[in-house]
Symmetry: D2
Subunit: 379 residues, 4 copies
């Protein structure tokens, strides 16, 4: 084979380290690409775990210091799958050593952090990607195609929610392995940066910029034991976050995220109402969209339950046959294949900055009690 090798160095071995590694391995099996991803090294502070991870996934070597990883000459691409408080420094270091950079979302804990990352990458002229993987759900990509074709006409409403219930117990500690998302110092924020950020990224991509927002956040459990200190400490993250907003195209935004919606595991839902059509999608049945076409004959109008698994649906000719669904992990495979092939405009660091500017405005509004303007993006 004459494929070009792409030597990958991964930071982090958690949930996202696994999802990314799987994408690196699977993309080439199902999509044509001129690159051959090579799993060169994985980096984690705990050497034993890093080695076990490397053995499982086939990484050739292990590092325990991310600076060492970024400085290696035999690596072309750094993938950041470590907690949010490490993103900025790793990305800047990777840029300075001229590596391509992939980074989990949110890009920074604040727009200031993500802006610094994007600036560094631009100075270094390196390719970047932020793992806003839900853009790469075939059903969501189909929505994007329909919107770009003008099928919806003028957009009136865009609403999104991301509902979970995993932190309701007051016994759940904060901080440390698997629970850093509850530690505001590490995560930057709670559901705003974690779940709402996904809703925001998809919305900006599908429906364009958000101009301003008014928001509300809440921390239902005010104190939790901290796993690293062993003490009960104030909880700094937001458990729930909601905002109303106005898009630049005149449509109205209603957004909500929470980890206190009993019965919902990872229910990201979105709905768009336009002059000529409406559509809805949710993550619990990610292989479907609901689509309403006002130009259908009147008495036969109804929401179409579309099983997005046919060969003429986005990405699906690469998989199985109609009716056979793909799942969560495929979104990462699609995103990585698109990155390799430069297709479908994969989300870059500037997109990460744009999302962070909205989450910053949301958090600011929740504090100020006023409408806050979203800072304008360069892009």
């Amino acid at each position: 084979m004459s494929k070009r090798p792409l030597r990958i160095g991964l930071v982090g071995y958690g949930f996202m380290g696994r999802a990314h590694s799987n994408a690196f391995l699977q993309a080439g099996r199902f999509f044509k690409t001129e690159y051959e991803p090579l799993l060169q090294a994985v980096c984690a502070r705990n050497r034993q775990r890093a080695e076990a991870f490397a053995a499982n996934w086939g990484y050739q070597s292990v590092e325990t210091d991310w600076r060492a990883l970024t400085e290696r000459k035999d690596i072309d691409l750094i993938d950041i799958a470590s907690p949010n408080d490490t993103h900025r420094d790793i990305a800047i270091a990777a840029a300075e050593t001229a590596k391509m950079i992939l980074c989990e979302k949110p890009l920074g804990r604040t727009a200031a952090e993500s802006e610094a990352m994007a600036d560094a990458a631009e100075r270094a002229k390196v390719s970047t990607m932020v793992w806003y993987n839900y853009r790469r759900v075939p059903a969501v990509m189909l929505l994007k195609q329909l919107l770009d074709q003008g099928r919806f006409g003028k957009i009136f409403h865009y609403r999104a929610k991301f509902l979970q219930d995993w932190t309701i117990s007051a016994e759940l500690p904060q901080g440390g392995e698997g629970l850093w998302r509850l530690d505001v110092g590490v995560a930057g924020s709670g559901v705003t940066g974690d779940l709402l950020a996904h809703c925001i990224d998809t919305a900006l991509w599908l429906n364009g910029p958000l101009d301003r927002v008014t928001a509300m956040t809440e921390t239902f459990i005010k104190e939790r034991k901290h796993n690293l200190t062993g003490r009960v400490e104030p909880v700094g993250i937001d458990d729930a976050s909601a905002f109303l907003g106005r898009f630049a195209n005149g449509s109205l935004a209603t957004f909500e995220a929470t980890r206190y919606a009993r019965g919902h595991k990872a229910l990201y839902t979105l709905e768009i109402n336009g002059e000529h059509a409406s559509a809805a999608w949710d993550l619990h049945d990610l292989h479907r969209i609901q689509f309403f076409n006002h130009s259908d004959e009147g008495r036969l109008r109804g929401w179409r339950n579309i099983n997005v698994t046919d060969g003429d649906h986005p990405y699906m000719k690469h998989w199985w046959v109609p009716g056979l669904q793909t799942g969560y992990e495929h979104t990462f495979i699609h995103q990585f294949a698109d990155f390799l092939n430069g297709e479908n405009d994969p989300p870059a660091f500037r997109d990460g900055v744009a999302a962070d500017r909205v989450t910053d405005a949301v958090l600011a509004s929740a504090k100020s009690g006023r409408w806050e303007t979203v800072a304008a993006s360069k892009k």
Copy 2:
């Protein structure tokens, strides 16, 4: 008002007596008709109950002998809502006194009974109707219109089920008040004449005649206490009934009814698969149809979830506004309004005969273990 009075005599005061009486009262409020239904008399063996029923619904008088009712000169129409074993004799007597006749389904316990009823009515030249009310669900009527327009092309499959779970307990007695449906002498059969008959009637109406069937029936609980005798007696009815069959139009039939499907209250479902379109409906959400239109653009094909509540849907301009659902009782109102107005070809006794011929063939096949031909209908 110049409306023509239509003096009604009702036999029976149970579930169906109530549903019919409500239809008599409501039809004129929501539909234009030249008739004014007058609730002249209700007949039941138990005078006290008949009087309570009459007081509640506004019947002007009470009879305790149905022969007396059929002989009254001040009655134009006899409505038979009493158990199945009374249908034939009441109907024949009503025909002989030249009354219009409405009768609950199944028309007879056997096709021989229902044929005698239809013959008597035809000799007397009186109007008849059998209460196969599910034809008058707006969603089902919409299916009929679509089929008549040829929207489905050649039909390949018609499948129907009617699933209930109310007789699973072995403690449930048979016979007597409210439980005569378990007494084969009174009911004629079990689910075949009760539930499957509905499926069959709708199918004959929508998809044309059934030529032949192979069937299976089962009685899960073999003995039950009989309420009238006080003794444990063999159960003669079928608890479950299923058949495969062939329609005259070449499509395949798969039908099933049971009272042993835990979790289903009254789940009548039907689905039609044609060359160009498919549709499905169920009684638990009777105000909707699912419709698949193959001529829709390929990647946007999906089952349309159609809320059949708009003004251009059958019957619905007479009710409220789009999105506001009607329910079970409306099917009787629609059917009675159609009968008064001679619209939409309401099911007459010959239709009742046709359904009974299929149920006869089903029961015969279940015994013989062979395919049985459905006797040809006169109509």
Copy 3:
């Protein structure tokens, strides 16, 4: 019969006049009550239409001036089903002549109006009811019972939406017959008082008082032809309205109403997330609730799709048998039966005031861009 006559005078003959009249006629057939509602008079400015309405529904007489109606000695109860701008004056006049008063929602165009109505009724010591009929959906009443039993534990989230699409066309005029809901002078507001008010009333009933809100409204079509003047005039109503809020019990509110959600006819949805359970309901399938019970065995937890049609479900023993659904009109029948029987605490004028105070705060916040406090209710 020894029932006490209740002589009703109705103002208005539109959609709501029909729904109420049907409730007056049906309540006694299906529910036991000591009252016998008598349709004494209907009042409308157009005598011909009033007479046609009276003939259809059985009203004994016709009035063309509501003041004459309120002054009649042979009337016990005034039911106000005319446009919003008439509610206050009719109600006050009815109170002054010591009539019971039923009134369509919203009670007033503003809380000041509804407060005057409630004050007048209290001075006159007359019974009142506001037709917030959705409380009387059996499924919603079941939710109320579950909440009152503490099944949900601490409530975290309450969200509601009411989505329609009937005013998207710019060709639709405002004002006059059937379109007064688009005329701000008559209606008071747009979707806020029309649709959002329903969501708010149910929420206050189920989840208790709302303390404060931040809101956004929009008028997508800025000018429409006015049917009464014949001129194109500015549109004063809100086409869409959304708010975030905080309930007194600490739960978070996210509410939205619009007439620009293509594909939705009358999709009122609500969802409650509590510590131990969650539930959801919607008006397009009003006979169901979705219920999630966290105490179910872990691997078998799921949202239960409950068909609220059994005899042990609220109101349902009065209707048919399990699985057979009722519809929209039944909510009015239930509410009227409850009013007659003094059961289930039917919504009175003070409840109408409470809802109007929230809609006032929503409209004020949409103007001010700030969080607004909901005025405290007397009740």
Copy 4:
């Protein structure tokens, strides 16, 4: 690593060759196993295509004659993913060279073929597996666990359907690349062996043996152009197949498969109704089950929509986090991991024989018009 190498030789490079190869590669990444699958060789008559397939999936070598493959000493396991008419001879040859054997379903074109395969494997004492992959859907495995725990009590009904619509066009040819499923000589039968066989295998596993059946088959399109001969030739396969039957446990079977159900892509559905519980599953939303538990509190009984994605659900702790769905390909991964680990009793050749005996009885009954007894299985 000290894993034991397992050298695989694959026959066939089509849809199933891809699905199996993916399973070979992924099983070790997500499941612990002592084996290391090595992709030693792929065999196909067309060398160019075999080489392209080998390059994509990482097979080390290529064969064009399956006999050569079975005779290689450096191969431990033969996986048969070629058309049905090749299964028997390859399997027997593989058994004779003492290879483990995996084979796509149906095992044989007839029970006689599959019996010969099972006999050969038993004589050679080699491990076998037939790819009835739907047993390994996490939701279906959950059903199996619940059934084995006796949660359903006595079973009354088992119904299954497999509906597709891809052969409706009369223009579709039969035979050759990708279309051999329409050529009766190659496939053995139509939907009976292809789709119904899946339904049957799952049913035998979940609900035990089927004793006897009465069946109906149909070929809607009687002649199609044959791709290999270029001539229009009679179609020998069944386009649709349905049967009624009786399980040994006394429950009733209603089964149907078709490729003429417009609007359904691969809708395999099954439902079990027991005394205490019912459950349903379908392939279009394979990550869910619907479960009804009669012991739930009466008024809160409903079908639970269970998202089978939690760590305590079968297989799911190996994947992502709750709410994130897996898809079709995972069933093969699970099945292969179970085979490697000897867990969950993977379907062996004797299970393939059992399914083929039912399909033989179905086809025989469709011809004879009588109930046919299913031949007793050795196992």
